[in-house]
Amino acid sequence: MTTAETPAATGTLRQQVLVLYLSTSALDSGTVGWARYDGTGATTPTTGDGDEPPYPDGVAALRDGWRLIQAAQLIPPYPGHEYDVSFLKHEFLFEKLVRV
């Protein structure tokens, strides 16, 4: 988490983070999983707190003002492990800076 102390005239900024897991590596593919973290302290998201994703896909989050700050790399499977399943591959991290 990072915070930014800005001049008194503009107040203090805090970061909110949204993590979306999408169905493919395309940002406009459907949301299959999500997580939220709130640096303002106004909300306390946690595991298993909802069944409906906050956005149907990644682009919907952009349209609502979230800024994409990281997308998962596309990494080929290790030889011999092509059929293994493990973590979700298509992870996108977004942020909003909120004045508190």
Binding site: V19, Y21, S23, V32, G33, W34, T47, Y83, V85
Partner: protein, 276 residues
Amino acid sequence: MSDRPAPEHLLTSVQMARFVAHGFVRLDAVVPEELNADAVDVLSAGIPAVPYGTPVAEAFAPGSLPARLIGVPAVAGALHSLVGPAPHVDHHAVHVREPGEGSAQPLHGDAIIDVRPDAFDVQLMYYPREVTLRAGGTLIVPGSHLRRTNESDTGRYQNLRGQHRLTCPAGTVVILHHGLWHGGRRNEGTERRYMFKIRFNPVVRQRLLWNTADLDDPAVAEELRVQFPWYEQATGRLEFHNRVRLWRALTGEDDFDLDHWVTRVSNRPERLPADA
């Protein structure tokens, strides 16, 4: 548990296929009310630990709550179907969640990463009281048991589409494959939530231990074909591949397949063409 349960209490092949796809079996309200009534006091007092790997007959005294629980015909039948006769008790634990208690557990698999392709442990979870959504029952992610991840490395995944936020009537038992992602949710209700867990290690090969009368039922393949909403498009296909391999291990049917998923990618003919 060493005696083979009656066939009507064993899981069917269709139910086993559902376990292979979902990673758990759910037995709603199968535990009698008198046992549920005793359970809260017994669990509150605590159940003595047993050494890891204790044979089940030595782990729990006759008449004790755990012995009565695993003697319930539907529970005994499901356990026999999954891990066979006389399994060992890996460990057991009483989980109590106080109202308003802290945050949820991170999504996790128990123990450590465990990628055995032809054997598995099961974890029995018993809920002696009704679990409501506000009481924060166990979060279960169907179809996550074949993912190769280690314990709580999945903690960043707060919610996945199609997850089960378990609610159930009193006396419900859920039996999980050891790899299934799960976690205790925050209890936002007004009452304590109780859950008793026992992990079992098989001591026999886990092959055809269930009621196999319906082994050739087309519904078996239909159960194995289920897709879950949280699967990514491409990885969801790998799940089919891996389920086929597990079903082959459990049945010994080395040519079983779903829609050619395994056959196609393992086809390496050695026969020479006739005109060579």
